[in-house]
């Protein structure tokens, strides 16, 4: 939305709303109500007309209000299209208040879902969705822009710090993350004011390339040149091009040609490709085995890669409709065979539940451009989208948690895995959800993350990896309880070491828990090896495991490492990283550094973890952490243990 044309002083007056409903009576009433709110209203009774109007000029409208049941086009379809093409917030309306329908709306990316008859009070608040989305987009851009370029930004949470070992300033990061996390947590209010505070200071706008369609109003303070923000669509185009060419033959020049995106340079593509390749490499174990794996895997593959990328992938994944459970199953199988241990499975197991979460969840906020995520579906959900990192996680975690509960996915691996690897599976727990637990359009992210997670492990050859990823993730999400369960699972005391220093999210108390898992020797060994080989901890947002061998969990270097749905992926990855953590004490030292995230209360996946892990034990570390105040990496379980 271009706020410029809305008189700032008068805001939200002047907000341009497009209303779509086949019922003329409803249109008339809504129009009058919106006019009374001092918005500018355009009504149309057909979805096709609405789309045409929107396509004509993307900046004309700030918000779309659409009915669910329309004769010429399904409201959900319109919702998706608007989200994808114009990335505008869409609010659904219907007299149908059934939870499953509302859920569907959320999953398709609706910012909100109003039950008819719509009241004035509800309409008075719709401007919040616009602002929220805008800010969260800004945040996302900030993070994104950092990731792909060598960071020449002074924003601390630059994703591009992949190669910079966070060992240097783990404390700083932790502190930042903690701060961010705490602010996020504190600002768990629906409007995400807490998150906005921190995000605002980090919000240096990224100049988006024209294909992004929207220019942030903030000026880039630190970036010196326009950065390409790899939105969901853009990334999807990229992935399509790569798939078309074949990963072997995919050279930047050809990809660029196929993508045919004005303003995109060969260098942009090359850099993105490099990251993508790293990601694929991580998954190589899995993907190679199953060529049939759906593209979503390829897409989301990047989730393991730095956060930004991961996020993107995740979104892509989400957008593309999730990783099918079968794919996960395949991965799982793959991992199994590869590792010979059950470890991989665990991850998958976790992943599965996540998958079920339903990709469409609108975790939009976190994902760039993802319409899906923008959703604050219900007023009750109120997840501040701007909060890309944490809120999403929360939501995601919540969703995941819920999903898990519903599905009763026994990740068995988590809980039941006697082997070290099993503990790894904690993964799901990785979804660290800020205590606020709001649902975000996370949906997809969950899956994506999981998917990525599973994928990760194979590369490492051990469940460990995967496990780690899981771990990472879980820690985040899992409430303290889960940690305990985690503990129970694993042999115990594995130090929860975050791999390689990857930024283990502080919130990962679960990780600590996981560590217990990993007591298994294999894991440990693996970790050890990994640790050794892992020179750097990627600090991706949430526990992303960056490293080659092990995806170290580098929590997103971005500001909140946790956040975002992307985070989730990060988380997943981090899970892996976590496993690293699980490793033996020796490794412990290594990992500590990367604790990037320290989220207050981030590591309480307990609920989440509980379901999955099903281990009754309590993670000792976790308890320390437990409050979710993982500000201190030590507490994080690195102590070893849980």
């Amino acid at each position: 939305m271009d706020r410029a044309d809305v008189d700032e002083g008068q805001f939200p007056a002047g907000l341009r709303v497009l209303v779509v409903d086949d019922d003329v009576t409803v249109l008339r009433v809504l129009k009058t109500m919106l006019l009374q709110c001092r918005y500018e209203v355009t009504t149309c009774s057909q979805a096709a007309t609405a789309l045409a109007l929107l396509r004509e000029s993307k900046d004309t409208y700030h918000l779309v209000l659409s009915d669910v049941h329309m004769p010429d086009m399904d409201g959900f379809k319109l919702l998706e299209l608007v989200g994808l093409e114009m990335d505008l917030p869409v609010i659904m309306m219907s007299a149908d208040a059934r939870t499953n329908i509302v859920m569907k709306g959320i999953k398709h990316g609706a910012c909100d879902y109003l039950i008819k008859p719509v009241r004035m009070e509800e309409l008075k608040n719709i401007w919040q969705h616009v602002v929220r989305k805008k800010w969260s987009d800004n945040n996302r851009d900030l993070e994104n822009s950092g990731s792909f370029e060598e960071s020449d930004r002074n924003i601390p949470n630059n994703n591009a710090n992949i190669n910079n070992n966070t060992n240097n300033n783990p404390n700083k990061r932790v502190a930042e993350d903690a701060e961010y996390a705490s602010s996020v947590n504190d600002g768990g209010a629906p409007d995400g004011s807490g998150g906005w505070k921190s995000s605002q200071k980090k919000k240096r706008c990224t100049v988006k390339e024209e294909e992004e369609g929207e220019t942030e109003s903030a000026d880039p303070s630190s970036s010196k040149k326009p950065r390409v923000v790899w939105s969901v669509e853009l990334h999807q185009q990229f992935v399509n091009a790569v798939n078309q060419l074949g990963i072997e033959k995919a050279v930047p020049k050809r990809i660029l040609e196929l993508m045919n995106v004005p303003g995109l340079t060969r260098e942009n593509v090359a850099s993105h490709l490099q990251k993508f390749r790293l990601y694929l490499k991580r998954l190589s174990g899995v993907t190679q085995h199953h060529p049939g794996l759906p593209n979503p895997f390829c897409g989301p593959v990047s989730t393991n890669i730095k956060t930004p990328l991961g996020r993107l992938d995740f979104e892509t994944l989400v957008a593309s409709g999730h990783i099918p459970p079968q794919a996960l199953a395949v991965l799982e199988e793959e991992l199994l065979t590869q590792n010979g241990t059950k470890q991989p499975i665990r991850e998958i197991a976790f992943g599965q539940p996540l998958v079920k979460c339903g990709p469409p969840t609108s975790l939009t906020r976190q994902f760039p451009q993802s319409n899906l995520s923008n959703i604050t579906i219900n007023p009750s959900l109120d997840m501040p989208p701007s909060f890309s990192n944490w809120p999403s996680n929360n939501d995601l975690a919540q969703i995941m948690h819920q999903q898990q509960q519903q599905q009763q996915q026994v990740v068995g691996s988590v809980g039941t895995v006697p082997q070290p690897s099993a503990s790894l599976n904690v993964q799901p727990s990785c979804l660290v959800i800020p205590s606020s637990q709001q649902m975000n359009n996370f949906q997809v992210s969950d899956n994506a993350i999981l998917a990525s997670q599973s994928q990760q492990s194979p590369s490492q050859g051990s469940g460990f990896q995967t496990g780690s990823s899981t771990l990472v993730q879980s820690p985040m999400m899992l409430p303290s309880q889960s940690l305990s369960s985690l503990q129970g699972m694993g042999p115990a005391n594995q130090n929860f070491q975050i791999n390689q220093g990857s930024s283990i999210i502080a919130s990962q108390p679960s990780i600590s828990g996981n560590s217990s898992y990993t007591s298994a020797g294999s894991v440990v060994d693996y970790n050890n090896n990994l640790i050794a080989t892992q020179p750097k901890n990627l600090r991706f947002g949430v526990g992303q495991i960056v490293d080659e061998g092990l995806k170290t969990m580098t929590s997103a270097s971005n500001n909140n490492s946790f956040s975002m749905p992307g985070m989730m992926s990060g988380m997943i990855n981090s899970g892996v990283a976590v496993t690293g953590a699980l490793m033996s004490d020796n490794n412990r030292q290594v990992r500590r550094n990367n604790l990037g995230f320290v989220g207050k209360g981030t590591c309480l996946p307990s609920r989440f973890a509980m379901d999955e892990i099903e281990s009754p034990t309590n993670l000792p570390n976790f308890s320390q952490i437990g409050g979710g105040d993982l500000v201190n990496p030590e507490n994080f379980g690195l102590d070893g243990q849980i």
Binding site: D23, T25, R28, V29, D67, H69, K116, M120
Partner: protein, 151 residues
Amino acid sequence: MDYVHLRRQAASLRKGLFDQGYLDEQFYQLEDLQDDASPNFVEEVVTLFFRDSARLMANIDQALDKCVKDFNKLDVYMQQLKGSCTSIGASRMKTECTAFRECCRDENIEGCMRSFQKIKREHSVLRQKLESYFQLLRQAGPVECATRPNK
């Protein structure tokens, strides 16, 4: 002309509509929206409603007559009608629409037909009453628009 009397009559008719459940809270919202900028807003919306709903009901009639028993389609129509009813606060009609949809779900064609008859009746009664009401208001002069009664 006795405006006071007319207005009183209008008010009493209006109150009756609420008391008897023909109208609900949503109607108040409509009244609230009426102001100097759109002085006849309520009447306009109500008119729109009756016109549109008549069209919808004709479609439903046709569908029922054909005896094809396309419950999905009937349900879709009814959903539209129900949405319309809620938007002006036509409470009784809305209730009957819900009953109709339930019959659709049960695939009870007779139930649907009976229910639909009721809907038509409610529709017609409501229309009459509201027409009288607005007429009274018009006659009573522009002095006062429909005001929100003390609930």
